[in-house]
């Protein structure tokens, strides 16, 4: 008899607790994501600083390794277009360009093709992370066009270059609006 009275009350209490806990856990999740993001951003900054030092010392292989570390960092969802992600996109660009540079000096055709493939992959991954209209996106498309051209894929190269021009146009329009506004 007593359990019949207590059971609905207990269920009610559980529901209430769940309702109260939901916003708290969402907030906690948000705070966790923020912490995760800040950690990732700090890592990216450190690697970028080391990249610059290695580049100054002409240690290109080490510099590229630092950039690769930035590329591999995982940023939490919901931080698209944030400073950390932009830094990562920049790393995609710089690393891809250094690989393309190495490919242009490579005499072995197979190795050269593999390097270009690697660079194309980096640029394409970068495009998935980059904002739709941004100077980095423009640069990624230009890089991609150049890499495709080196690989002899003329149609793909032109498509990439033309996408870059479209973004460039939008950036210029935005700049004009900013000046007039």
């Amino acid at each position: 008899m007593r359990s019949r009275i207590l059971a609905p009350r207990a269920a009610l209490l559980v529901c209430l607790a769940a309702l109260l806990a939901a916003p708290v856990s969402a907030q906690a999740q948000k705070a966790d994501a923020k912490k995760q993001y800040e950690l990732a951003l700090d890592q990216a900054i450190i690697h970028y600083e080391q990249f610059k030092i290695h580049l100054e010392n002409k240690e290109n292989a080490k510099a590229m390794k630092e950039l690769r570390s930035i590329v591999d960092i995982e940023f939490p969802d919901g931080y698209e277009g944030s400073d950390g992600v932009l830094l990562q996109v920049d790393a995609h660009i710089l690393l891809g360009e250094m690989i393309v540079e190495n490919a242009s000096k490579e005499k072995d055709a197979k190795k050269k093709a593999a390097l270009i493939d690697d660079a194309v992959g980096l640029f394409r991954q970068g495009l998935l992370k980059a904002p739709a209209v941004h100077e980095l996106t423009y640069q990624l498309y230009m890089d991609l066009g150049h890499a495709y051209k080196m690989a002899g894929k003329k149609d793909d190269a032109l498509k990439a270059f033309e996408n870059a021009q479209k973004i460039n146009k939008k950036l210029q329009e935005a700049q004009k609006q900013n000046k007039s506004g």
Partner: protein, 189 residues
């Protein structure tokens, strides 16, 4: 009244006489058009009786002759007699439509019918040269063979600038966070 009009009236009167039977067909000799007209008028007036095939054949011949006469008067040759003229006109029409497109396609950047090989290459080279200028700066930085032009704010220097901004911003954030932690005793969520 002119000579031609006089002659025409005379012929019309003669035709009328022939048709009414006041004059014989021989009076139309030396006037082939009048003779044709007189024959046609006579036949039409009298009819072919019960000879429909003959009537149809006569009608067709008469129609053909009338068409030829009208065309000769207007100095027009019917289109169906000159099939090559039809072809030439169609070709001219096509040229008229296609011509402007072809003309515009000679100018770089405008390609209503898509790209031909040379234009595609030209455009590729144009974009790639634009790209190369930036890559050269990267080369300079890597090789240190020449000092980069500091006045040129390339995207590479913008990368550095962006990084510096991000680094400073993060540094400030961390400083502020430490201040908050100090003031709240680290009980901040």
């Amino acid at each position: 009244m002119t000579m031609d009009e006089n002659q025409e009236q005379k012929l019309a009167a003669l035709l009328s006489d022939i048709v009414d039977g006041r004059a014989g067909m021989d009076s139309a000799a030396g006037e082939p058009e009048l003779l044709d007209a007189a024959v046609a008028a006579n036949v039409l007036r009298q009819g072919f009786g019960d000879e429909p095939a003959l009537a149809a054949s006569f009608d067709a011949r008469l129609r053909e002759r009338l068409v030829a006469q009208t065309a000769a008067r207007a100095k027009i040759v019917p289109m169906h007699r000159r099939p090559w003229l039809r072809g030439a006109l169609a070709a001219a029409l096509i040229m008229l439509i296609v011509g402007p497109f072809w003309l515009f396609s000679r100018h770089a950047g405008v390609d209503p019918f898509g790209d031909d090989e040379s234009m595609q290459l030209q455009r590729l080279e144009y974009y790639d040269n634009k790209y190369e200028s930036r890559l050269n700066q990267l080369r300079e930085r890597i090789d240190r063979s020449a000092e980069p032009d500091i006045m040129v704010r390339t995207s590479l220097s913008r990368s550095d600038e962006r990084f510096e901004n991000i680094r400073q911003k993060r540094q400030n954030e961390r400083r502020m966070q430490r201040v908050r932690e100090y003031t709240t005793g680290g009980n901040e969520l």
